[in-house]
């Protein structure tokens, strides 16, 4: 038993030495996740702000200027250009310089004063469907409240809807996305490192040397996975630190629970990595296989695209995705302060998958290496 531990320990040491011998690689391993988190944290935002608006004000009245002012004062729109010629608007939208065209026809102020319905036209560039959908909602609300402000004598609306958002009162998407980036980065680091580490030995031809050494296949697997699990955990701490200190994401739940979930999650990532290493012969193949696994895992996890908008078949598929369960746990712990009571289902799924995948992959690897 003692000798066994020693052998695994030596193997882990060898592995670490190999990783850290290349100072650039070790830098990439610890700096890249932070850069990626920053990029993800800032870029993965579905908040719609500062929508480029092209204004055609054919009326040129105080009222029309006031309406434009209401658009920009909301913070959702900024004026990207002003003209009186419709052709300029078309060109701006064609070039992607404006997303919204706000057209106020001549006679707008006159109609308002006469009590005739005054018309405003809103042209949206639907190329970015999300921005267009949300901006449409904002624009409708702005016109409505502007009208209500100008005509206080008008009878109040029959129904008044008061909205409140729980867990994220400002509806900032960053609070939702940053914790989830953790899931994406952890799986990427663990998957890629594990898969490449074994395939590299096979490609260079040193795997045979390891196989004829007194190491048993089980020890070999431990030696090959422990270092990357540790690197993954260090990355986890780094990412956590940046999320809390830099992005100031609220953390309402238990850190211990998060750690437990992360370990289970890392297990499944290592398992998939091991599995890929048994089927690939070259590092290039392994890299591509990692990619082939990583993309659907990320896209079908609810990270950027809500699971609830997927068709039923894909919604079912996501149940087999460890990242989906991990993200539900991470978001629950971060944003809602949820405990095991609310998250036990996800924990159960993650445990089954983590242990199951790792065990299957290890078994396959053992048999493959025993067969030569």
């Amino acid at each position: 038993m003692r000798a066994k531990l020693e052998r695994v320990f030596e193997m882990v040491r060898k592995e670490f030495r190999q990783v850290f011998r290349d100072p650039r690689l070790s830098r990439v391993l610890f700096v890249a996740p932070v850069i990626q988190l920053l990029a993800f944290g800032y870029a993965v935002s579905t908040d719609v702000r500062d929508v480029a608006t092209f204004v055609i004000d054919d009326d040129g009245s105080r009222e029309s200027r006031d309406l434009v002012e209401a658009f920009t004062a909301s913070g959702y729109f900024r004026v990207a250009g002003v003209s009186r010629r419709p052709a300029d608007l078309v060109r701006a939208i064609d070039r992607g310089e404006a997303v919204l065209g706000l057209v106020i026809p001549a006679g707008f102020a006159r109609d308002l004063r006469r009590g005739v319905t005054a018309h405003v036209q809103l042209l949206f560039d639907g190329t970015n469907s999300n921005v267009a959908t949300v901006a449409q909602g904002y624009a409708g609300r702005i016109v409505q409240s502007w009208t209500a402000r100008r005509f206080p004598s008008l009878s109040p609306p029959a129904v008044d809807l008061r909205a409140r958002a729980w867990f994220n009162p400002d509806l900032e998407s960053r609070v939702y996305n940053v914790p989830a980036v953790m899931g994406a980065l952890l799986i990427l680091v663990c998957l890629l490192l594990t898969a490449l580490a074994i395939v590299r030995e096979r490609e260079i031809g040193t795997l045979e040397q390891l196989l004829v050494s007194p190491l048993t296949p089980g020890e070999l697997i431990l030696g090959k996975t422990i270092p990357f699990a540790l690197i993954g955990l260090v990355d986890l701490v780094l990412i956590m630190a940046v999320s809390l200190l830099w992005f100031k994401v609220p953390f309402r739940g238990s850190a211990l629970l998060l750690l437990a979930a992360s370990i289970l999650y890392i297990f499944s990532a290592l398992g998939v990595g091991l599995f890929i290493s048994t089927i690939s012969r070259t590092q290039q193949e392994a890299f591509m296989a990692v990619f082939l696994v990583f993309m659907p895992t990320m896209l079908l996890s609810g990270f950027m695209f809500p699971v609830s908008s997927m068709p039923a078949v894909f919604r079912w598929l996501t149940l087999a995705n460890p990242m989906r369960h991990y993200l539900e746990i991470v978001r629950g712990i971060f944003l809602k302060g949820a405990g095991l009571g609310a998250l036990w289902k996800q924990f159960l799924a993650l445990s089954l998958m983590g242990v199951g995948i790792l065990w299957l992959a290890a078994d396959r690897f053992r048999r493959r290496s025993a067969a030569g």
């Binding site: 990439v28 890249a32 850069i35 990029a39 993800f40 800032y42 993965v44 908040d47 719609v48 702000r49 500062d50 060109r91 064609d94 992607g96 005739v116 005054a118 018309h119 036209q121 042209l123 949206f124 560039d125 639907g126 190329t127 970015n128 469907s129 999300n130 921005v131 959908t133 449409q136 909602g137 624009a139 409708g140 029959a158 129904v159 008044d160 809807l161 909205a163 409140r164 958002a165 729980w166 509806l171 998407s173 490449l196 012969r281 070259t282 590092q283 290039q284 890299f287 591509m288 990619f291 993309m295 659907p296 896209l299 079908l300 809500p306 908008s309 997927m310 894909f314 978001r331 609310a342």
Partner: protein
């Protein structure tokens, strides 16, 4: 300076090497198809079937009519009728409902008396995007219903009417936005996954010295290695555009020739960049990590492919100007959805040309320096 026979010989060598690794080659074609299917079928931002829970404390004909209006809108799925207000907490924490509509007692009485009746909407803000859109939809439902109630009394024309129209993507489907962008992402994937390993592999296996000893010039090595990947990339562009148009009915309104020419330029730049990374890294593990950070992630995150650049903080917006995919995306969306030509896209065309020259130049210079 370039001897065609040597160049072709180099390309043939690379092609033979690629052919010997049929699985990598298969993956190079499988990945774009997988991405297309995922983006085309599985994921979207289109928010439908929002899980709605109703806490109807009024239990009147009016309140039931309002709930019916929500149901009939097609955006909401009635997930639960709550009995007590205490149930809201646990339901929201479990994620059982995304929106809870609270109809307070006295709702029908207020309506009948001509007073403004209030309503409350509680939205799960943790997914800010879905929450924003869900709120927008519920406001629209309430607004229409409210107007109907008002009209029962008297008929008054609204003082301002805003007509909104959407161009280029009339049904606001996120698929139409994603598929043209995917062409750019797929090219970057090819560059990152195939090209970035090609020189690093030769270093790692020790065949680089052999290559250096042949009369092949540096430029010929770079171009020769590039040609097969250029072929793969162009096939991928055609295949993914065709699939997008035929399978997913994404409109294609511009010139196919223009798309091919600009894609060719973009691909040259991307492949050059991949080669440059390969020459810098010298080890495949490092090359894969660098390729992810330098080519794939920026293209996914900062190009405007999925997330609007307007909403990003200023430093990130500044960085996005350095990302060639940002310009190429204007090209693909312009050609697919807007049907614009070189008259609008000439700036982007020049930038693509500059990118191709820079990518290739960097690769050749770096490669020469490393070899000498």
């Amino acid at each position: 300076m370039i001897e065609p026979t040597r160049l072709l010989a180099m390309a043939r060598k690379e092609l033979i090497q690629l052919r010997r690794d049929p699985r990598s080659l298969a993956l190079a074609f499988a990945l774009p198809v997988l991405l297309l299917i995922l983006f085309g079928y599985a994921i979207s931002w289109d928010v439908r079937d929002i899980r709605l829970a109703v806490l109807d404390q009024d239990r009147s004909a009016a309140s039931r009519e309002l709930v019916d209006a929500f149901r009939a809108s097609g955006y909401f799925n009635l997930a639960a009728f709550l009995e007590r207000s205490g149930d809201v907490d646990s339901l929201m924490e479990r994620g059982g409902a995304q929106l809870v509509l609270v109809i307070p007692p006295g709702f029908a009485r207020d309506l009948g008396a001509g007073r403004t009746a209030s309503l409350q909407a509680i939205v799960d803000g943790s997914d800010a995007n879905t929450a924003t859109i869900a709120l927008g939809y519920s406001e629209a439902v309430v607004r229409t219903w409210s107007a109907r109630v008002e009209l029962r009394g008297r008929s008054v024309a609204p003082p301002v009417s805003a007509e909104s129209r959407v161009w280029f993507n009339e049904e606001l489907a996120s698929r139409n936005m994603i598929v043209p962008g995917l062409v750019a992402v797929i090219m970057m994937v090819i560059a990152a996954m195939l090209t970035s390993l090609t020189i690093a592999r030769e270093w790692e296996r020790g065949t680089m010295e052999q290559l250096a000893a042949t009369p092949v010039s540096r430029l010929e090595v770079v171009l020769g290695k590039l040609l097969p990947y250029l072929g793969i990339g162009l096939v991928d562009v055609v295949a993914s555009s065709a699939l997008g148009v035929l399978l997913f009915a994404v409109p294609f309104r511009g010139s196919a020739v223009l798309l091919m020419v600009l894609s060719f330029l973009f691909l040259m730049g991307a492949l050059g960049l991949g080669m440059f990374i390969s020459a810098v890294a010298k080890s495949q593990v490092l090359a894969t990590q660098l390729a992810m950070v330098a080519t794939f992630l920026p293209t996914m995150l900062l190009s405007g492919f999925m997330f609007s650049i307007d909403a990003m903080p200023a430093p990130l917006q500044a960085i996005s100007y350095l990302i060639p995919a940002r310009y190429f995306l204007v090209v693909t969306r312009g050609i697919f959805l807007k049907g614009v030509g070189l008259g609008v896209l000439w700036t982007q065309g020049l930038l693509m040309l500059a990118f191709a020259a820079a990518g290739l130049g960097l690769a050749v210079v770096k490669f020469r320096k490393e070899l000498d």
